[in-house]
C-alpha cells in the first residue's frame, strides 16, 4: 500500500507540473488535441497508481512523451497557421445576420437545441437578435448581437466615467500581501493607518482589503472581529 501511496504522489505532482507547463489555457479551454492529451494522461497515470506490478516508468515515460509532444505541437501551431488549422480546426459561423447556417450546423453536428441552450445561457432570447454566432475551436459559442440589440455603453451616451483600473488585493484572509503593497508603491505604515482609520488594530482582523488605481480602498472585516 505504501508503494501505491508514494506512486500516487509522484504521478500527481508530475501531472500538475505537466499541466502547468502547458500554460493557463489548458485548464479552461481545451482544444481537441489538449482534450485527448488530458484523457490519455489521466488513464496512463491511473494504471501504475493501482497496479504496482507495473514499473512506475511505464507510466512516467508515456506521460513525459505526451507532454514533450504537446509542447512541440503547440509551438508548431504558433509558428504555422496551416498546422494550427490542421490540429485545432477553424471557427465555424453558425448564425449570420439572424439566419442559422444549417450546413455548418450539420458539419459540426451542432443541434438546434444546443444552439438555443447556448443563446439562453448568454442571455439571448432568439436567433433573430444575433449578428454572428461563432462556434470556436474549443467548442464554445461566441455570440455577437446586432448593434441595435447591444447594451448601450457610457461612451455611446457621451459620458466619461472615471477609470477605476485594476483593483489589487493588499490583505487576503488576514495576511498582508507585501509584494502587492510594494508594487503599488505603498508601505506597511500606510496600510496600518488605513486599518486604524477603519477601526482595526491589525491585519488579522481584515478578511479582504483592496485598492484600485484611483486610490479607493475597499475593506471587508473578518467575521466576528468587531
Amino acid at each position: 500500500m505504501a508503494v501505491a501511496f508514494v506512486r500516487t504522489i509522484i504521478l500527481y505532482l508530475l501531472i500538475i507540473f505537466g499541466i502547468r507547463l502547458m500554460g493557463k489555457r489548458q485548464v479552461g479551454e481545451l482544444e481537441p488535441s489538449e482534450l485527448v492529451l488530458d484523457l490519455i494522461i489521466a488513464d496512463l497515470a491511473a494504471v501504475p497508481m493501482q497496479d504496482y506490478g507495473i514499473p512506475l516508468l511505464s507510466g512516467v515515460v508515456p506521460i513525459l512523451t505526451l507532454l514533450g509532444l504537446t509542447m512541440l505541437l503547440s509551438l508548431l501551431t504558433m509558428k504555422s497557421l496551416r498546422f494550427r488549422v490542421l490540429l485545432c480546426g477553424r471557427p465555424s459561423i453558425i448564425v449570420r445576420d439572424g439566419v442559422v447556417d444549417q450546413r455548418e450546423m450539420r458539419r459540426n453536428r451542432f443541434t438546434l437545441d444546443e444552439l438555443h441552450e447556448e443563446l439562453r445561457c448568454q442571455g439571448v432570447a432568439g436567433v433573430e437578435r444575433v449578428k454572428y454566432a461563432i462556434l470556436e475551436t474549443n467548442g464554445q459559442l461566441s455570440v455577437l448581437l446586432r448593434a441595435a440589440d447591444q447594451p448601450t455603453t457610457a461612451g455611446q451616451m457621451g459620458l466619461s466615467p472615471a477609470e477605476p483600473g485594476l483593483p489589487i488585493l493588499l490583505i487576503s484572509d488576514g495576511r498582508v500581501l507585501s509584494r502587492n503593497l510594494k508594487d503599488r508603491g505603498l508601505d506597511r505604515a500606510w496600510l496600518l493607518r488605513q486599518l486604524k482609520d477603519r477601526g482595526f488594530a491589525q491585519p488579522g482582523q481584515v478578511f479582504c482589503l483592496s485598492i484600485d488605481e484611483t486610490g479607493t480602498v475597499s475593506c471587508v472585516p473578518q467575521e466576528g472581529t468587531r
Binding site: 504496482y52 506490478g53 507495473i54 514499473p55 512506475l56 516508468l57 511505464s58 515515460v61 513525459l64 512523451t65 507532454l67 514533450g68 509532444l69 509542447m71 512541440l72 509551438l75
Partner: protein, 126 residues
C-alpha cells in the same frame, strides 16, 4: 527555434533512453542465455559442477541488476525469471536431467521473450 529545443530534447532523451535500455537488456539477456545453453552442453558432457557454476553466476548477475530490472520491466516477469533460475539450479543439483533441461529451456525462452518485448520492432509496435 530555441523554444523547440526543450521539448525536442526531452523527446530525443526519452527515445535514446528507451533504445539504450532495450540494447542493454538484449546484451544482458544474451549473455545469460549463452551461459544457460553452455551449462546444458556441459551437463550433456557430464560436467555437472561446471554447469552449476555457470548457472550460479548467471543467477547472481540477474540478481545484481535487480534494481534496474524492476524499474524497467514488469515485476511479474522479473520475479518469474528469478524463480526460474532457482528452479533450474535446484533441478541441476538433484541431477534430474530431463526436468533440468525443460526448466533451463523455459528460462531461456522467458529471457528471450522479456528482451524481445522491449525491442523497437514493427512486431512489437502493432
Amino acid at each position: 527555434m530555441r523554444r523547440f529545443l526543450g521539448p525536442a530534447l526531452l523527446l530525443l532523451l526519452l527515445l535514446a533512453g528507451g533504445l539504450g535500455n532495450a540494447f542493454a537488456l538484449e546484451q544482458f539477456t544474451d549473455r545469460l542465455t549463452g551461459a544457460l545453453l553452455q551449462a546444458e552442453e556441459q551437463v550433456g558432457q557430464g560436467d555437472w559442477e561446471g554447469a552449476e557454476a555457470l548457472i550460479r553466476e548467471a543467477r547472481e548477475a540477474w540478481h545484481s541488476r535487480d534494481g534496474w530490472l524492476h524499474v524497467t520491466l514488469r515485476h511479474a516477469d522479473t520475479d518469474e525469471i528469478q524463480i526460474g533460475f532457482d528452479e533450474t539450479l535446484r533441478l541441476l543439483l538433484c541431477r534430474e536431467m530431463g526436468e533440468y533441461a525443460a526448466a533451463s529451456a523455459q528460462l531461456v525462452q522467458h529471457l528471450q521473450l522479456v528482451s524481445g518485448a522491449e525491442q523497437l520492432t514493427l512486431q512489437n509496435l502493432f
